[in-house]
């Protein structure tokens, strides 16, 4: 690590002198460095723990999981070369790939992988696996589950289960150094924002074309826009959609976009009197001008959501499912029918309850606040009063815990692991789920369907179950998708061969070359 612990007056003066010198020379010296692939995204390297920052390790291809997913959704071997499941569907065997070495040169054995995986299984994201035991047999890792769990390989794509070398952990049980197996190896970490990487020459698979890479975290969206306009990075993930025309016009970088299974959705507390009636939820759903929001705010008309998930995940997208029309009159009629009467202030009420709600949104996704204010204006037309309150992300679980949640709007990815069911279960089958339904009676029906789905290894049956789950969600609207997510990536002119992974598990940097 290159952490500067102190600066002397002289070094500061030298710095200022060099600053002045740099100002005097209108050169491009700060810009492109030959052979270094510069990647930026909003996320900071807050700690070394895979549960915390494993996604950066996985995306930057520093660390790898047993199972990996290709951009087309196909599960492929990662550290595990192959896997099998026993006939009773309870014992899974993962064969560790031969010749894989950690960044410190030590070989990846089944024992080492199991040790790393055991730590991951303690984390919350892996706890959905009904683990019975984890052991090794030679070069094979044996995982037994208590009940059949059909999408286990998909869950093992989760970044929290990246495999680190035993030497990574310090005496205190925390990761002191990240020693992993990916095609890139960390050479230095500068604070939370910059990570220097180099090609790992003993990587088992396709070796990167660039010798060095640098990851920079730029949390502020406007700053990312500025950097993109200046062309001061090679690839910038998650640029502000509204800024796309400016970035493209500047000519340094081009914004590529891809619809991904991340959804901007609003969720209701269905236990509240104003949202208990499904007709109210439907009316709200019909009063929202999704296309207007998608084109004006998100600048991508195609991102208006017609159902929970986009066609980018064909298995979980049912083209036959009828979408809700944008129909203010129809929405008003529904509310009239449900007995909500307009008061003198234009807000409907029923039995002394006003059709009003406070909607929590996440401040660090600024477009949600803008969408919220748009919805606020649109819902006025059906006599609903909406207050938008952007806050830190933790405010939503906090409000749910405190029982004060009325409505939320958030962005949720359904492919944390490349099987949507892993997200449907926590979001739609619990009484109080953080990013899904709250006090929704329909959860039990979904639960029955998901239980069967998890244990089933019959693809046809699973497809039927998926359609049923999607239909219930579409009909009952405990959660309403407003817009799908356009993954925006600004790409420098000199970058060749970039592939965007809709699952956001890897940045596929090994395929990139610099022109």
């Amino acid at each position: 690590m290159t952490e500067k612990l102190s600066i002397t007056r002289r070094s500061a003066l030298a710095l200022s002198a060099s600053a002045v010198a740099a100002a005097a020379l209108p050169s491009q010296s700060f810009a492109q460095e030959a052979g270094v692939l510069r990647v930026a995204s909003p996320w900071e390297w807050t700690s070394n723990e895979p549960t915390d920052t494993g996604y950066i390790m996985a995306r930057m291809q520093i660390a790898e999981t047993l199972v990996m997913v290709e951009p087309d959704g196909k599960l492929v071997g990662g550290i595990a070369e192959s896997w099998t499941v026993s006939d009773d569907r309870l014992t899974w065997r993962f064969k560790v790939r031969a010749g894989v070495v950690f960044h410190d040169g030590s070989p990846v054995t089944a024992e080492a992988a199991a040790a790393s995986l055991r730590r991951s299984l303690a984390g919350e994201s892996m706890q959905q696996i009904p683990v019975d035991s984890l052991s090794t047999e030679g070069d094979t890792l044996v995982l037994k589950t208590k009940t059949p769990f059909s999408h286990l390989p998909a869950v093992l794509v989760d970044y929290a289960s990246v495999i680190l070398a035993p030497a990574s952990w310090g005496a205190d049980g925390k990761v002191s150094r990240v020693i992993a197996t990916g095609p890139f190896r960390i050479t230095s970490i500068d604070g939370k924002t910059v990570i220097e990487l180099e090609r790992f020459d003993r990587y088992w698979g396709e070796k990167p074309k660039v010798a060095r890479a640098r990851y920079t975290a730029i949390a502020n969206g406007d700053t990312r826009t500025n950097v993109a306009i200046a062309g001061d990075q090679d690839i910038i993930f998650t640029t502000v959609p509204a800024a796309t025309p400016r970035i493209d016009a500047a000519g340094q970088m081009k914004v590529e976009s891809l619809t991904i299974p991340r959804v901007r959705a609003m969720a209701f507390n269905s236990g509240l009197p104003q949202f208990a009636d499904v007709r109210v939820r439907r009316a709200i759903n019909m009063a929202i001008d999704r296309r207007g929001i998608a084109s004006a705010i998100l600048r991508h008309p195609g991102s208006a959501a017609t159902q929970l998930l986009p066609s980018a995940v064909p298995a979980w997208h049912d083209a036959a499912l009828p979408a809700y029309p944008f129909d203010v009159a129809g929405a008003n009629a529904l509310l009239d029918q449900a007995g909500w009467v307009r008061g003198t202030d234009g807000v409907r009420a029923k039995d002394g309850v006003r059709l009003a709600a406070k909607m929590l949104t996440i401040a660090n996704r600024p477009e949600l606040t803008v969408m919220g204010t748009a919805m606020q204006a649109q819902l006025k037309a059906i006599g609903m009063e909406l207050t938008v309150e952007p806050g830190p992300s933790a405010a939503i679980p906090a409000a749910i815990q405190a029982g004060t949640m009325q409505m939320t709007m958030f962005a949720r990815t359904y492919v944390n692991v490349p099987e949507v069911i892993a997200t449907i279960i926590p979001d739609f089958t619990r009484e109080r789920s953080t990013w899904g339904t709250l006090n929704w009676p329909g959860r039990d029906r979904i639960k029955a369907l998901t239980d069967e789905y998890v244990q089933s290894f019959d693809e046809a049956r699973k497809a039927t179950l998926r359609r049923e789950i999607l239909k219930i969600i579409q009909d009952e609207v405990p959660v309403a998708a407003v817009a799908w997510f356009e993954h925006t990536v600004a790409v420098n002119r000199r970058v060749k061969g970039l592939v965007i992974d809709p699952f956001e598990t890897r940045y596929m940097l090994h395929k990139v070359s610099l022109g």
Binding site: S18, A19, S393, P397, Q401
Partner: protein, 317 residues
């Protein structure tokens, strides 16, 4: 010089006490904030989407956040007595290391911006002060008032738009090379200059109108010699006082500039620590900033004592 030493000892004692009180206040404030602290820590650690009540419970257990507040506070104070500021709840790194890293950046940018501001303000202020009401005075006054009326984020956006996006002379964000420092340093310098120019100008005007300056000329010194021998030192007294105040202002970081330029300073650290409710970091920052503030004002006092012997007399009393 015994007096000076006594003043220093006294002030350092005061500074330590102030810092400890500040850190304690931070503790009280952070715990008084509504919401589940462990949940906030959890959200910051595992990310917005993964946070669950279970994660919060695990972190509460692991970090001992379920202990009574008085015990947590007592432990922090106990560790502090041994020079240990604890570990960040977010990164798990020692708070000392986190603070040192971010403080070094704040100090770098702060010092450069601050020096730059005086590099700009001193000649302008002195020129204006030499000819009150003259052309230079009017121009610098207009400049100072204009800059004082522009929020630093607007200045920053303006500079970025011009120099980074349009002219492409400088990088728009970052912190690793000298070129990266230019725009944030100028943004900071311009917001400081707005207030230091009038201070310098007034100090010069005041000293130049002081009778001892006239008398020095009656005694036979040329105007330049009179200013060199008598003016500089006397004019420096208010300027030094103000400059130290400005520098003290700079040490607790400048969130807007740091955010705009993606610069890893203390301000950024504090904002993130606050979002994450990273209590040890917030308390540590309170402690360090409070102490630094006191040290800077002590240095200013010492400089003033050196410049102005009258202060020594007051200190003695």
């Amino acid at each position: 010089m015994n007096t000076v030493l006594r003043v220093i000892m006294l002030r350092i004692g005061q500074a330590l006490a102030t810092a400890a009180v500040l850190a304690s206040l931070c503790f009280v404030f952070v715990h008084a904030l509504p919401g589940d602290l462990a949940l906030r820590v959890a959200a910051a650690r595992v990310g917005d989407e993964r946070v669950t009540p279970e994660t919060a419970d695990r972190i509460r257990r692991e970090e001992g956040l379920d202990r009574p507040l008085i015990v947590q506070y007592g432990q922090w104070m106990g560790n502090l007595a041994q020079g240990d500021l604890g570990r960040s709840l977010l990164s798990g790194k020692p708070v000392k290391q986190e603070l040192a890293y971010h403080a070094s950046f704040t100090l770098q940018l702060g010092l450069i911006g601050w020096l730059l501001s005086y590099l700009i303000a001193l000649p302008l202020g002195i020129m204006a002060g030499f000819r009150p009401g003259g052309v230079v005075d009017r121009i610098t006054d207009a400049l100072a008032v204009t800059l004082a009326s522009l929020p630093s984020f607007l200045v920053g956006i303006g500079l970025i738009t011009l120099f980074a996006l349009t002219l492409r002379w400088l990088p728009p964000a970052g912190f690793r090379t000298g070129a990266h420092m230019v725009l944030p340093a100028f943004t900071l310098a311009l917001s400081l200059v707005a207030f230091s120019i009038p201070v310098i100008r007034n100090a010069v005007v005041e000293v130049r109108s002081a009778f001892f300056m006239t008398y020095a000329r009656v005694k036979g010194l040329t105007p330049a010699a009179a200013f060199r021998h008598h003016g500089v030192r006397n004019a420096a007294i208010p300027v030094v006082t103000y400059a130290a105040l400005q520098f003290a202002f700079v040490i607790d970081g400048f969130v807007v500039i740091e955010t705009l330029f993606n610069y890893p300073g203390l301000g950024e650290l504090l904002v993130k620590a606050l979002i994450a409710r990273d209590v040890p970091v917030i308390m540590g920052a309170g402690l360090v900033i409070g102490f630094a503030f006191a040290v800077v004002s002590l240095l200013a006092d010492l400089t003033r004592l050196w410049l102005d012997p009258r202060g020594l007399e007051e200190a003695r009393a």
